[in-house]
Amino acid sequence: MLGKLIKYDFLAIGRLLLPLYAALIAVSLLLGITVRMNLQNGMAVLIIIYTLIITAGMVMTAYLLVERFYHNLLGNEGYLMFALPVTTADHIVEKLLSALIWTAIGIVAVLLSGICLALTAAPWSDLMKGFSEFFRMISNGEIRGEDVGQILEILAVLAAGMVAFLAKVYCSIAVGHLWREHRILGSILAFIGFSILEVWVSIGAGRAGIITGYLLDTGFNFWLSAGQCLILAAVYSAGTWFILDRHLNLE
């Protein structure tokens, strides 16, 4: 059932974001051609459009991930979703997985547009030089397994951090839902309250020798930081589950 929930969330978000990413690729190809042909005016306009599309993609992704939770589960669509034979936990996990998927798609789309830009803008001879240099660095051991590992560590921390942040947003929305009126105001106040609480707990943990991601004796540890983010996400998600499962009260 989780896969089916992801499928329909993918359709709902994809109908808005996928055309945007298709436009991004198209503009990057056009931009590459104008660079190659040295068309100064076209280049300037396309750079502005390219930047605008990337910004719009980021803003829309953030907006849709919050909006989908609010309207799909706690708006009128909630009558459809909560009547489905799936658990409340499935709904929450699905929203967090969907967020990870769309963030990954956004990053891939930007990288792909960069590759398209490079392939169309640079002369083939330069590209071939670049590739041979890249493979030379690998064969000479200038790019090592540890470097790749570090990139993976950074990505893991970023992904865990994003999941923790969204879990906090979802929990805040769920707390706001407990209010009879002014539910959005309730959600915003809950978010501020949770943020203050996090700082307070971090200070307490600091006194105990552990600060988010840091152990005083070993310095910053990516995996520890990712683990802490996931624990935070689990705590917020448990709160969201408790409210949606036991105190759901759709308008």
Binding site: K4, N72, G78, L80, F82, A83, L84, P85, V86, L248
Partner: protein, 231 residues
């Protein structure tokens, strides 16, 4: 055996008691009218049965179990509002119901949509309110469920649409299922009811076969309802 059973079911919203110690047993194979004025607790009872609300006291059982994801798979619920995602096309909605409900009869849904000349490539946003209501009803009634919970299915629609809705309910529900219709428009549904439950301020004040009510009172269910709920 009761397919839907309430034991001392109680629900409060702050100081307001929406359901007050409700005891009720409803059996399969019946069309039951859950009748009462606005605010009498009809929607609250249906929402608890659909697990959209949790009771504050007592319990409600569907086929012997408290509402959960298993009971949801045998309950077909029609809310009292537009609840379908507006961006979805009717063909996508039928696929959605097929994906989540094993008992959804897609062929029947397609036939009913075709009889209303609703094309599959039209999004819900493009449909009129009346047509949206009909699409919702078609999706709900195209399931071979054991319990149908229909919350105000004929409120806010024109008389021709009411006839269509009642015909659709009558010709599509599984004969061994319970159909619970909540409404305050008694005269429109009276002809299809096997039993009537009167809810007044969160309490069941009457639960009898419709024929018995007519025999005992010498009045139609609608006329008797007006007498019981006279202001």
């Amino acid at each position: 055996m009761s397919i839907l059973e309430c034991r001392k079911l109680t629900k409060r919203y702050g100081s307001l008691t929406a359901l007050d110690q409700v005891d009720l047993n409803l059996e399969s194979g019946k069309i039951v009218g859950l009748l009462g004025p606005n605010g009498s607790g009809k929607t609250t009872l249906i929402k608890i049965a659909s697990r959209l609300l949790q009771p504050d006291g007592g319990e409600l059982l569907i086929s012997g179990s408290r509402p959960d994801e298993n009971t949801k798979s045998i309950v077909s619920y029609l809310p009292d509002r537009s609840y379908l995602p507006e961006w979805m096309k009717t063909s996508q909605l039928m696929q959605f119901y097929s994906d989540f409900y094993m008992d959804f009869d897609r062929k029947k849904a397609e036939e009913l949509m075709a009889s209303l000349q609703i094309p599959g490539n039209v999004s819900i946003r493009q449909l009129s309110k009346g047509t949206r209501d009909k699409v919702q009803l078609i999706l709900t009634m195209s399931r071979k469920a054991r319990v149908y919970l229909l919350d105000e299915p004929i409120a806010g629609v024109d008389p021709a649409a009411r006839d269509y809705i009642l015909r659709t309910i009558l010709s599509n529900y599984s004969p061994d299922a319970l159909v619970l219709i909540s409404t305050h428009l008694i005269s429109d549904v009276e002809s299809v009811l096997d039993e009537a439950v009167f809810l007044k301020q969160g309490r069941v004040v009457l639960h009898k076969p419709a024929d018995t009510i007519r025999e005992e009172t010498g009045k139609s269910v609608d006329a008797y309802f007006r007498e019981v709920f006279a202001c």
